[in-house]
């Protein structure tokens, strides 16, 4: 196992966005009229530190997806900064962008769709190293990562359709770990999985944060899943961050309306049995 990424002593953020705004131009309503502007993100401040798991929750349309695209460097912000390791990603030069690319990795929602059905798992796992032109003993790295996510070596020769959803999500996480990232962004990583499998994947993510000192950004719509996995939650609504706090505090005393809605939406077996779930 390669050395665990050291924690910066000062605990400064690994990946952050500062005063970030993003807007899209919509279709013209009238000929020659200026194109209407849709503000999807407004003045977002967000940060994740090494070994810290941060949640991002909100209804669909709240801007979660756009913020994710910013954090992964897919989209350039209209205003504000995306900062990795203290340097702006978009003005920090090509070398820093490459470092950013390999250090921030993504796990997507639907594991069936996130692996090429015509590629053997082994090939898919090597893909990040090849495309990011990372040197080193690739074969050894593959075995190391397989061990980290709890998969057997025999998986490498197989195709994605031979696996169940939970196993595929492990493979997707393994692929994200290949370039030895420092931040993992997980976009609804368990919402496509069965309940009994969800717990396995959530536990795995928690272990990775603890064992590898990864920063984790966990994006979800379900507050209870986020609360279990993270130590700090950002609540988004209409393109703004409306509340930040510890999950339990948010759950007990939600102040923003969006948070109250999310907390109110959580159904539990206990409240159902008590007969007041839909009250």
């Amino acid at each position: 196992m390669t050395a665990v990424t050291p924690f910066p002593a000062d605990g400064r953020p690994l990946l952050e966005v500062r005063q970030l705004s993003q807007q899209y131009f919509l279709r013209r309503q009238k000929l020659f009229a200026p194109r209407p502007i849709l503000k999807v993100l407004q003045d977002i401040d967000f940060a994740v530190r090494p070994g810290e798991a941060v949640g991002l929750v909100g209804e669909s349309g709240s801007g979660k997806t756009t913020l994710t695209r910013m954090l992964t460097g897919v989209e350039k912000p209209h205003e504000g900064h995306v900062v990795f390791d203290g340097v702006d990603v978009w003005s920090g030069g090509e070398a820093h962008r490459r470092l950013f690319r390999r250090s921030v990795q993504v796990v997507l929602q639907n594991p069936r769709s996130s692996l090429d059905p015509r590629m053997r798992v082994g090939t898919s796992l090597l893909e990040p190293l090849r495309s990011l032109k990372i040197e080193g003993d690739h074969a050894a790295r593959v075995l190391e990562v397989l061990d980290q996510v709890g998969l057997q070596k025999s998986a490498l020769e197989r195709f994605p359709h031979e696996f169940s959803g939970g196993q595929l999500q492990r493979i997707a996480i393994a692929r994200a770990l290949m370039p030895n990232p420092r931040v993992l962004i997980a976009d609804e990583p368990v919402s496509a999985l069965d309940v009994s499998i969800q717990a396995q994947v959530l536990n795995l993510l928690k272990d990775l944060v603890r064992d590898l000192g990864l920063g984790l950004v966990f994006i979800a719509h379900d507050l209870s899943v986020v609360a279990y996995t993270t130590s700090k939650v950002y609540v988004m609504s209409s393109g703004k961050i409306v509340e930040v706090g510890k999950p339990l505090d948010l759950f007990r005393n939600p102040s923003a309306e969006a948070t109250q809605n999310l907390v109110g939406a959580v159904l539990s077996v206990e409240s159902g049995l008590a007969g007041n779930a839909l009250a």
């Binding site: 997507l108 069936r112 090429d116 696996f163 795995l204």
Partner: protein, 290 residues
């Protein structure tokens, strides 16, 4: 990893059940037989199919020297059918291959290179589709003279827009998958994504479409040759045989049956093969589980 609740998970047992696909088997037998006949014709023919033999005119079928008899000029039917198979393959496969090649390039560009490229290529394909294929073929034959090459050109013009459409929509479906997003996140370029991810995933569609248009090409070629704007002797085509048989209808009707049957079996074989391959190659069908 010390996850006691989830021990190392073994991969699911591969499920490669051998399924007997009737249309695939029948299609394969017919198509391989057709290809074999064409191949044999290069090395062996019962007699020269282009030299008339006045003494042996209009012989009935099932004779030892002429299994299916002879035509109005005494030429052996089996020999003509065998050489005709070559023409069918040359023209059908030629037209379908070139159309597949252009259609794949065009369809991939339309799917992956932005709205302008898509609009230009898709609308161009629509315009080409709106011109009837027969008209294109007749115009080409009138300006360039008839022959195998002209027919291939006509088929290409006729098939390419359809290929563009099919490839474009298949490629777009693949491009929406998350593994494409991942590849982009790793900084892979469009060409790499098309070559490594998109083409392998639409190869099944391409193969199936090829067999179907191969069959359509054989049919169209027969139609053109029947009208007299396809190939000319010394080349032989089944459509041409149909045309010539027309002159002897009433005297010896079976003459039209043999090339007709040949066309029916080959087109049927290729279509069954295409259907069978579609079932076998479609990953969505394979993935389906209850």
């Amino acid at each position: 990893m010390t996850d006691t609740a989830s021990p190392a998970v073994a991969a699911a047992s591969p499920r490669r059940r051998v399924e007997i696909n009737a249309s695939l088997v029948v299609g394969l037998v017919l198509t391989v037989g057709f290809l074999a006949v064409a191949l044999v014709s290069f090395f062996w023919l019962p007699s020269n199919p282009n030299i008339p033999n006045i003494k042996a005119r209009m012989l009935p079928p099932f004779l030892p020297d002429h299994w299916l008899g002879t035509d109005g000029l005494g030429r052996d039917i089996v020999a003509q059918l065998m050489v005709g198979a070559r023409t069918s393959i040359l023209v059908g496969a030629g037209g379908a291959s070139i159309a597949l090649l252009i259609g794949t390039v065009g369809g991939l560009i339309a799917a992956a290179y932005g709205k302008l490229a898509d609009e230009t290529i898709s609308r161009g394909a629509d315009i080409m589709l709106s011109i009837p294929g027969m008209v294109t073929a007749l115009v080409l034959a009138a300006t360039m003279g008839s022959g195998a090459f002209t027919t291939i050109l006509a088929l290409t013009a006729f098939f390419t827009p359809s290929f563009i459409r099919v490839i474009r929509s298949a490629a777009m479906a693949v491009l929406q998958e998350d593994f494409i997003t991942s590849a982009k996140l790793y900084g892979r370029g469009r060409l790499f994504i098309l070559a490594r991810h998109v083409i392998p995933n639409i190869a099944g569609v391409m193969i199936v479409q090829f067999t179907l248009y191969f069959a359509a090409g054989i049919l169209t070629e027969a139609g053109l040759s029947y009208l007299g704007v396809g190939v000319t002797r010394p080349s032989i085509s089944w459509g041409m045989m149909l045309n010539e048989a027309q002159q002897t209808v009433g005297i010896s009707s079976p003459l039209a049956i043999w090339p007709g049957l040949a066309i029916v079996f080959v087109v049927l074989g290729l279509n069954l093969l295409g259907d069978g391959l579609r079932d076998v190659l479609d990953p969505k069908l394979k993935r389906r589980s209850a």
